[in-house]
Assembly symmetry: C2
Homo-oligomer: 250 residues x 2
DNA sequence: GGCGTGTTTTTAGGATCGTAACAACAGCAT
DNA sequence: ATGCTGTTGTTACGATCCTAAAAACACGCC
């Protein structure tokens, strides 16, 4: 079995199929249609297992059964299979989140806990940054060395806040970052103070109003980890520390 | 645990979480945030297991970890969780179908095999009916007793074919069905011949040109099973049989 | 009988579930 | 300081469940 096929099987498994189901489904698409023997010949699925596996695939709506002798199987079209899986996924997601929606604590205003949270992973940090920026009412300080850490969504959120009257200050020692953000209406840019060493590990810094902060670091493998806090005394203290260290000349 | 919660857990399991993962995720949404003990108290997940389960949920991007003593966990917002799962699903689906697309047999024109296929389930029969109707070039005969079996998509396909110059004939002994389809431009309606008994099991009949046919039956539980064939001699023979029996007076 | 088909049962193997034991630590009374 | 109690986080291990894989079986056909 080719590497590509192995990957496809893995992907189908993560979509909820068993490995046999994935293999039979793929084999039938390669064949167009075929019998249990045909399938067993080009896969490592034992022929005697093909029958039950195909039956469960039929129940999922991924193939059709020809009641003849021998039984022939025919996969549904790729488009139909995609839609079927999509429908099933959305259905399950609704069922799952329907309940979570109802019981989920509305923890609005409860943000005053003295909590500092950790977020791992580029995408997840991106999301948290956007969340934080969106909550800004008064002013934003946004800084990063790395142009890749200014996503379109972050840029859009900065623009949106700036036009909403929030004072937005972007800090970066990287020209590309400054140029990109300077072009936004209402966004000011500046270089960080010289006395700050050129830290190779720092990722981003986001300060929102006087009570929200996010700091991230980038490790050797490019993985990003951030800490953040909002509405906590902890956040306020950190913000004051940073303000003091950046405004005071060395 | 309430029935609703059990259902939500099941749904999350079908989305690829383990039951522990689902329970911890839901519990944290009920709590807003909490420690391993908090979670263990309101679920049947052993406290000692909460740590590793939460870790894997963090990797999936469904919650955040506060490195303190005791460790506190905080779920991401419902919206963020929905999006995260959606992204993962689409990613896996692309990976899976990317390969299937490449290897899938283009079985166009290979339809001439003498095959008759079986399709189970209302939705799946709907899909197959639409497929068949869409392939019509010359004429269509569409019949059903049951108004529910004329879906919007089927109606749209009939209208589309009619305007494309295909002769469309709808047959039903049910007034509601006739009225609905008669209103379509270019669709003719009629009553079935009297000598046909009022069969309580028959579901739909679809005849397309001279070589495509689908017949379905509805069982006592409302489940539908259809047989269909296209481009086969088998289909032609069946069609001739039906034409003969409907056009000849008793 | 010999062969192919389809059904059923049985036997690993692996992941998850569930319990338990453990060291480390904090609070508190002796 | 010592001992007791309770909590936290980690680790280990048996039970259970599902899938994978093999085998045995019944049937029809040549």
């Amino acid at each position: 079995m080719s590497t590509d096929e192995t990957e496809a099987v893995d992907a189908f498994e993560r979509l909820g199929l068993t490995s046999y189901e994935a293999k039979v489904f793929i084999a039938l698409h390669r064949l167009g249609s075929g019998t249990a023997r045909d399938v067993a010949r080009i896969t490592d699925v034992p022929r005697s297992q093909v029958y039950s596996v195909a039956e469960s695939l039929e129940e999922r709506g991924l193939l059709e059964v020809q009641q003849s002798n021998p039984i022939r199987y025919r996969p549904v079209s790729v488009e139909e299979a995609r839609e079927t899986l999509e429908k099933r996924f959305e259905h399950e997601r609704e069922r799952a989140f329907d309940y979570v929606d109802r019981v989920s604590e509305e923890s609005v205003g409860e943000e005053t806990q003295e909590d500092i949270w950790t977020v791992r992973g580029r995408d997840r940090v991106d999301d948290r940054v956007v969340d934080l920026l969106s909550s800004a009412e008064d002013r934003i300080v946004f800084g990063t060395r790395l142009p890749a850490l200014v996503t379109d969504e972050i840029e859009a959120t900065l623009r949106n806040r700036a036009t909403a009257g929030v004072s937005v200050l972007a800090v970066s020692r990287t020209g590309a970052v400054r140029e990109r953000l300077e072009s936004l209406e209402g966004v000011e840019c500046e270089l960080p103070p010289d006395h700050h060493g050129d830290d190779q590990r720092s990722g981003r810094i986001v300060i929102v109003d006087d009570d929200g902060i996010l700091l991230s670091v980038v490790d050797d493998d490019g993985g990003e980890t951030a800490i953040w806090s909002s509405g906590s005394r902890f956040a306020s203290v950190l913000i004051q520390l940073i303000r003091a260290s950046t405004q005071t000349p060395a």
